[in-house]
């Protein structure tokens, strides 16, 4: 019921419009109050009638706000004539309110009077009654001025006023909000919201705006939730708040995520100066860092930390103690530097870990965890690499065919218009320049006309040369490794430092010398730089791979030798133990023999080949790091310094001439990274600390190389674009991963672990740990299942099934590829068709234009395209307005009304002006609707031809 009532009054107000306003303003306060009460709900009416005054009193403060608003508007009045209406509105409200107050309350009257005085800063302090009259006058003026179109505003105004009076009551009687009041409140909230929205274009000072804004916002905040009831209200408020918070949080989180991409700025900076190819290296480095961080997490979280925290401390058992004969030298730097002494017996290496089945209060199964982490590292890396490759290949084929308008696109679309930071802008300049250079290179490559025979000959020659040098380097390594085995038989002290480190030295040297050599040879081939990079990568890959595997074979020789000696020692210790037991039992005449009381440092122990292998890998990595960093320091930095500063006093131009600045060697760096990773994968099983070392190394590399490349290198002479995806790098990495997987898995599966060191000591094979766990810790049926699963009868079908699955998936992917190309072709066809159609349309338009050229009034007719429909509408409209007109028009051109469309198009007769009239009408949509002078003029113009 109440809402309906409200609706009624609303309609009433709308209908009556101005008159009602006038009545209220001029009429007595009683009437005004009645009206305002009319809007309130019936049941409350009476109570309100009595309490109104008191409420007024109570809510004086709250009334302050609207009053202020009024004040402001008043002030504006003086400023602007145009805003008369608005001002008047507020003044009116003010006045009515003031009058009400005058009748009811002395204090508020004083206050409001003061307000008025303040408002009339100009000194026009007018008594209240005068003011009221003034308002009425203004009202009268305003009536004339305001057209019908102000009706809406009026209505709004009206509502505002009544609302502001009723809001005071609703404030005080929040508890007993009726539906009607709710609706009012709702509207008021809307009003306030609107005020907030339109506050910006109010011509007030900032301070004022802020105050009003704050008030309005507070109001909205307070009452928005009140639209529901009781619990619902609070829930609503809560919901609104939460959604806002959530949206904000989401936005912040997105920003945060972007800001968290490490080194993004650094890489972008490099990219803008050196092109995408150099940047691709750094992106690859960053990716590698992420991968290693995860591996590091596995290794330290599941293996190293548990052993350190829960395992036996250093010195408790022989494997954790430096042997007596090594102890005096164990802290020497030269020993530590080669990872002997304390390093060798630390958590960095395999030997340190104990073979206790469970450790600590958590009963952590360390040996099992060690094995699983060792294998899991490979599994995880494999997964990540393959997934990245798949994603890259998806990105690669997004269908944007290049080559058609490369230069135009670069020209028209390369600038990023959102850049607002001068530094970024500099980078963007550089990158645009670089990208232009890249396209120039591509372009030159395309246009090269070539002597194909010479080219072929040169390429064959280059490949022969490179094969020769590959073979040479392979032989060199073989030779050195053989020699090192001879050295190993000799006494350690007789050898010089060089002889001890010959293998590492030669390998690093080869890695240093060969790539530039290959690059020089590759000049003969004259490939596009992008292809040349791939060749170069492939060749260096072959070189490194050869080196690595030679190294591995040498290592295996060593391992078998160690295994032999280990057997001897094992037998010897067992023999000694038996001796001891026999002696003990005969001496004390007891069978209860306590273990021999020997200090852990004095126990005889085997060579522990796993730790030896680990040490080899760590040494290799360290020497690799040294060589890489020194190369950068000398080859790039020193060279740059010399070129830069010696240039002042040198015979020729060093910068442009011979030494010049170094270029960033992409292929070498990428492969260095890949092989480094390969060695990490291989070595991580035998030296858990290696992963941590590698994380540190990559972190340093990132900063060091970024600095080096920005400080001492110059962009490549022929800057070229990296291929879209760096799947080539990934492919190499995958290959290396597989190749490093082989030896590790081989050793795990075939070699027996050392008897006195490492988590698997005492076991026949390393994987026995798994079997043991299955047998002892898991329910027996799992063991049975496992037994069946390892049965060859099951494995063979499984393999067969997998082969079938691969075959099937392969077929499916081929089918998809086919479908893909078909769809692409179809799309192309559709596009062509579309183009043709558009062209045809153009041509018809052309015909139309030609036709119109023949017309007399052509210059007056607005462009015909897309504007044909409006005229008939207008004509018809006109027809309905004045029936007379239709026959007139029809008679004039001798055609039916239906044909008027053609007429308006062709406009070949006196109706020309009529068709023209809609022009201005139709064009600016703003004028089309609503009673405005425009149409009147149009009609007027339309008349003459009728007569």
């Amino acid at each position: 019921m109440p809402p309906k009532k409200r609706n009624d009054t609303k309609i009433y107000v709308e209908d009556v419009g101005l008159e009602v306003d006038a009545v209220i303003d001029s009429g007595s306060e009683d009437e005004a109050r009645k009206r305002s009460k009319n809007r309130r709900t019936k049941p409350q009416r009476k109570a309100k009638h009595f309490s109104d005054e008191e409420e007024e009193e109570e809510d004086d403060d709250e009334d302050e706000a609207p009053r202020k608003r009024g004040k402001r508007k008043k002030a504006k009045l003086r400023d602007s004539d145009e805003d008369d209406e608005e001002d008047k509105r507020s003044v009116k409200r003010k006045a009515s309110k003031a009058s009400r107050k005058k009748a009811t309350q002395e204090e508020s009257e004083d206050e409001s009077e003061e307000d008025h005085r303040r408002k009339k800063k100009g000194g026009k302090s007018v008594p209240k009654k005068d003011k009221e009259e003034q308002n009425k006058e203004k009202k009268g003026n305003g009536k004339g001025k305001r057209g019908n179109d102000n009706d809406g505003e009026k209505d709004k105004k009206k509502k505002k006023r009544t609302l502001s009076s009723s809001s005071s009551s609703s404030d005080s009687s929040e508890e007993s909000l009726s539906e009607g009041e709710m609706a009012i409140l709702k509207e008021e909230v809307e009003e306030k919201k609107k005020l907030i929205a339109t506050l910006r274009n109010k011509p007030w000072r900032m301070k004022r705006r802020l105050v009003v804004l704050k008030e309005a916002q507070e109001f909205v905040e307070r009452f928005e939730g009140a639209l529901g009831k009781g619990k619902g209200r609070r829930l609503y408020a809560f919901k609104v708040m939460m959604t806002k918070k959530f949206i904000k949080f989401k936005r912040d989180f997105e920003n945060f995520k972007t800001a968290c991409i490490p080194w993004e700025r650094k890489i972008k900076e490099v990219e803008s100066h050196f092109g995408s190819s150099v940047a691709s290296y750094f992106i690859f480095l960053r990716w590698m860092y992420g991968l290693n961080l995860v591996l590091f997490g596995f290794m330290f979280g599941l293996v190293v930390l548990p052993e350190i925290l829960m395992g036996l401390p250093y010195g408790a058992i022989p494997r954790k103690t430096v042997p007596r004969e090594e102890q005096e030298k164990a802290m020497d730097f030269s020993v530590l530097f080669e990872f002997g002494g304390y390093c060798k017996y630390s958590f960095l290496f395999y030997g340190f870990y104990n073979n206790e089945r469970t450790i600590g209060v958590l009963q952590f199964r360390l040996p099992l965890s060690y094995l699983l982490v060792g294998v899991g590292i490979f599994g995880y890396s494999l997964m990540v690499v393959i997934r990245t490759m798949a994603r890259n290949s998806n990105e690669g084929g997004d269908g944007a065919e290049e080559g058609e308008f490369t230069f135009s696109w670069k020209m028209f679309t390369s600038w990023d218009y959102l850049i607002g930071n001068p530094e970024t802008a500099d980078n963007k300049y550089a990158s645009i320049t670089t990208s232009f250079k890249e396209s120039i290179v591509d372009e030159q490559e395309n246009q090269k006309d070539e002597n194909i025979h010479l080219r072929r000959f040169l390429r064959v020659l280059a490949n022969v040369l490179i094969l020769c040098s590959l073979g040479g380097s392979g032989y060199l390594i073989y030779f050195v490794v053989k020699r090192s085995q001879e050295f190993a038989d000799m006494d350690n002290d007789e050898l010089s430092w060089f002889e001890k480190n010959e293998v590492e030295f030669v390998m690093s040297l080869l890695g240093l010398v060969c790539p530039p050599l290959f690059e020089t040879i590759a000049e003969l081939e004259d490939y596009h730089p992008r292809i040349a990079l791939k060749w170069q990568l492939g060749r260096i890959f072959a070189l490194f791979l050869g080196n690595l595997y030679t190294f591995l074979f040498a290592l295996f020789d060593e391992v078998t030798a160690k295994l032999e000696s280990e057997k001897l020692i094992k037998n010897a210790t067992e023999w000694a133990l038996n001796e001891y037991r026999a002696n003990y039992s005969t001496h004390f005449n007891t069978t209860d023999v306590p273990p021999p009381d020997v200090h852990p440092a004095d126990v005889i122990r085997g060579p522990c080949w796993e730790t030896a292998v680990g040490i080899e890998f760590v040494k290799l990595i360290v020497s690799d790091i040294q060589v890489t960093y020194l190369t950068i320091l000398i080859g790039d930095f020193l060279r740059a310094v010399i070129v830069r500063f010696l240039n002042y006093c040198w015979c020729w131009d060093l910068e442009a001439g011979f030494p010049s600045y170094g270029e960033f060697d992409i292929s070498g760096n990428v492969l260095g990274l890949i092989f480094n990773q390969g060695m990490i994968w291989m070595g991580a099983f035998y030296a858990p600390g290696l992963v941590g070392l590698n994380v540190l190394r990559l972190l340093c590399s990132m900063y060091y190389q970024c600095w080096a490349v920005m400080a001492c290198n110059v962009p490549h002479e022929r800057v070229f674009k990296a291929s879209r995806s760096n799947n080539f790098y990934m492919g190499l990495l995958l290959l290396v991963l597989f190749l490093s997987l082989l030896p590790v898995v081989y050793t795990i599966m075939t070699l027996s672990p050392s008897f006195d060191c490492g988590p698997f000591s005492g076991q026949e094979k390393m994987y026995d740990v798994v079997m043991e766990t299955i047998e002892q810790d898991l329910p027996s049926f799992i063991g049975t299942i496992f037994n069946y699963a390892t049965n060859p009868g099951l494995i063979m079908p499984a393999v067969l099934l997998m082969v079938l699955a691969i075959y099937y998936l392969n077929a499916v992917s081929k089918g998809y590829q086919q479908a893909n190309t078909d769809l692409k072709r179809k799309m192309q066809m559709a596009r062509d068709e579309e183009k043709n159609r558009r062209n045809n349309k153009d041509s018809t338009n052309q015909v139309m234009k030609d036709l119109e050229d023949l017309l007399p009034d052509k210059s007056l007719i607005p462009p015909p395209t897309e504007e044909e429909p409006p005229p008939p509408d207008v004509v018809i409209e006109k027809g309905t307005k004045s029936p007379k007109m239709k026959p007139g028009g029809a008679a004039a051109n001798g055609k039916g009304v239906n044909l008027q469309r053609d007429v308006s198009l062709a406009a070949s007769n006196p109706r020309g002006p009529v068709t023209r009239a809609p022009g201005p009408r139709g064009r600016p949509p703003g004028n089309a609707r609503g009673p405005q002078p425009g149409p009147g003029g149009g009609r007027g113009r339309g008349r003459p031809p009728r007569q």
Partner: protein, 195 residues
């Protein structure tokens, strides 16, 4: 103070702008406040200097061209209406607008109008053709002195060669449209105005 009155945004004005440009009410008021904050002279119009104070435009190689686009020919002041008309080019095309009947006059933010706006940035002499010289000027702005004039010239030649279909050694608007056919102009030349 009296002059400020003319800068006030009236409801009718908002309505008109709304109809002309398609911006929503709150967008208009928001942009109006931006307009007034840019308006350092406080005279209800923006001058070139006002625009140059925007950092994004100040460092943009084509900034001057963009600023020029705001001003009607021969004038160096732009009022709020004009300001909004130019900005309307960058209003994203909404889904509801896509399937509106094509008979209505083309909105300012249509693909063609967006492209035309871009085209005007390059077409300095407003002869509806981008000539080699105009391209060279733009190129020089974009790459500075890092590439030799000769190479720049060849880039400009290549660009024209790619785009030019009727052999007049310049790029007309239709050719320009064709070049950028595959570029997602609707999305790229749209600014997400806050509501």
């Amino acid at each position: 103070m009296g002059s400020r009155a003319s800068t006030l945004l009236r409801e009718e004005e908002i309505e008109e702008i709304k109809k002309e440009t398609g911006f929503s009410h709150s967008q208009i008021t928001r942009l109006y406040s931006r307009f007034t904050s840019l308006d350092k002279g406080e005279n209800g119009t923006l001058s070139r200097e006002d625009f140059q104070r925007i950092p994004e435009l100040a460092i943009n190689p084509l900034g001057d061209r963009i600023i020029n686009a705001f001003f009607p020919e021969g004038e160096d002041q732009v009022n709020f209406r004009g300001f909004m008309r130019t900005l309307a080019h960058f209003r994203p095309i909404e889904d509801s607008e896509k399937n509106k009947n094509p008979a209505a006059s083309e909105p300012l933010n249509s693909r063609t109008n967006k492209l035309l706006f871009a085209f005007r940035l390059y077409d300095l002499d407003r002869d509806d053709k981008i000539s080699r010289d105009e391209l060279l000027q733009v190129l020089r702005m974009m790459v500075g002195v890092n590439i030799s004039d000769e190479q720049l010239g060849s880039i400009a030649d290549r660009t024209i060669q790619e785009a030019d279909t009727n052999g007049d050694n310049s790029i007309s608007f239709t050719e320009f449209i064709k070049v950028l056919e595959k570029v997602d102009v609707e999305q790229k030349m749209s600014i997400r105005f806050l509501h």
